[in-house]
C-alpha cells in the first residue's frame, strides 16, 4: 500500500514540475533563438567564398537533461503498445536546441559572424543509461567552427 502511495506521489510531483520546467525552457529557448538570429549556424563545411573568412576557431555547447518521473512512466507504457513517444521527442528537441544556443553564445562571446560544419552527438549518462530499455538522462553536444568574416563583405 505504501509503495502505491509513493508511486502516485512521484507521478504527481513529476507531472507538475516536469510540465512547468518544460514550458519555461521552451519560452526561454524561443527568446534566445530570436536573439541569435543574426548568427547563422550551418552544417555545410564551406561557404561560397572562402576568402571572406578572417579567422576560425572550434566552439561547442553541451547540456545534460533528464526526463521527469511521469513522462518516463508514460514512455514505459508506450513500450508495450509501440508508437510515437511524444515526451522523448520534446525532450530531445529542446536539448538539441539548447546545445546549439550554448554553442552560439560561446561563438558570439568571441565575436564570430558564422558557424560552419555543425555536428551533434548524444551520449547516455546516469545510473539508468546502461540498463536495457532505459534512458536515465542524456547529454547532447553541438560543435562547429566559428568564423569571423572580413568587415564589409
Amino acid at each position: 500500500m505504501d509503495a502505491l502511495i509513493y508511486f502516485i506521489l512521484f507521478i504527481f510531483v513529476g507531472y507538475i514540475s516536469g510540465t512547468i520546467i518544460e514550458k519555461k525552457h521552451y519560452l526561454d529557448i524561443e527568446v534566445r533563438e530570436k536573439k541569435y538570429l543574426n548568427l547563422p549556424a550551418i552544417s555545410s563545411k564551406n561557404i561560397e567564398d572562402e576568402s571572406r573568412i578572417l579567422s576560425a576557431n572550434l566552439v561547442s555547447g553541451s547540456v545534460v537533461i533528464s526526463l521527469d518521473y511521469f513522462k518516463r512512466f508514460l514512455a514505459g507504457l508506450r513500450n508495450v503498445v509501440g508508437g510515437r513517444i511524444h515526451s522523448y521527442e520534446t525532450l530531445l528537441d529542446r536539448s538539441r536546441r539548447e546545445a546549439v544556443l550554448r554553442m552560439k553564445e560561446n561563438a558570439s562571446s568571441m565575436n564570430a559572424d558564422m558557424i560552419l560544419n555543425i555536428r551533434f552527438q548524444t551520449l547516455g549518462v546516469g545510473q539508468k543509461a546502461n540498463k536495457k530499455g532505459n534512458i536515465g538522462c542524456f547529454e547532447v553536444v553541438a560543435y562547429g567552427t566559428a568564423v569571423k568574416l572580413k568587415p564589409g563583405t
Binding site: 512521484f10 510531483v13 513529476g14 514540475s17 516536469g18 520546467i21 518544460e22 525552457h25 563545411k45 564551406n46 572562402e50 576568402s51 573568412i53 578572417l54 579567422s55 576560425a56 576557431n57 572550434l58 561547442s60 553541451s62 547540456v63 545534460v64 537533461i65 533528464s66 526526463l67 521527469d68 518521473y69 513522462k71 518516463r72 539548447e98 560552419l116 560544419n117 555536428r119 552527438q121 551520449l123 547516455g124 549518462v125 546516469g126 545510473q127 539508468k128 543509461a129 546502461n130 536515465g136 538522462c137 547529454e139 553536444v141 560543435y143 562547429g144 567552427t145 568564423v147
Partner: protein, 105 residues
C-alpha cells in the same frame, strides 16, 4: 594553435601534414552529482553537475589533443571530431581526434 572542424584553415595554406592526433580522458561520475541526478530523474530538467563534468572532460581531451599536436611541431589541427564510449558502469571515455597540420604564418 588554430583548431577547426572543417577541412582547412580558412585563409591559410597548409604546408605540412603530420597525420592523425588524438586526446582522450575517462571520467566517472561522483556521488554528489549522482544524488542530484536521482532527484532530477523525478522532477525533470537540466543536470548542471553533469553538464559541467562532461564539459570539463571534453576540454581536457581537447587539451591533450593540442599538446600532442604541439609535440609534433604542428600549429593547427583540422577536421576535429568528438567521440564518446561508455566503458564501464557510470564511466565514459571522451575522445577528440583530428589531423595535425602546419600552415604558413
Amino acid at each position: 594553435m588554430i583548431v577547426t572542424n572543417i577541412d582547412s584553415v580558412p585563409g591559410k595554406r597548409i604546408v605540412e601534414h603530420f597525420g592523425i592526433v588524438q586526446g582522450s580522458t575517462v571520467r566517472a561520475r561522483h556521488v554528489g552529482a549522482d544524488l542530484a541526478a536521482s532527484l532530477k530523474n523525478l522532477v525533470g530538467g537540466e543536470l548542471k553537475g553533469y553538464t559541467k563534468l562532461l564539459e570539463d572532460a571534453r576540454a581536457e581531451s581537447l587539451g591533450r589533443l593540442i599538446q600532442q599536436a604541439q609535440q609534433l611541431g604542428a600549429n593547427a589541427i583540422i577536421n576535429i571530431r568528438f567521440a564518446t564510449a561508455a566503458v564501464a558502469q557510470g564511466a565514459a571515455e571522451l575522445m577528440a581526434y583530428g589531423t595535425a597540420v602546419r600552415v604558413e604564418e
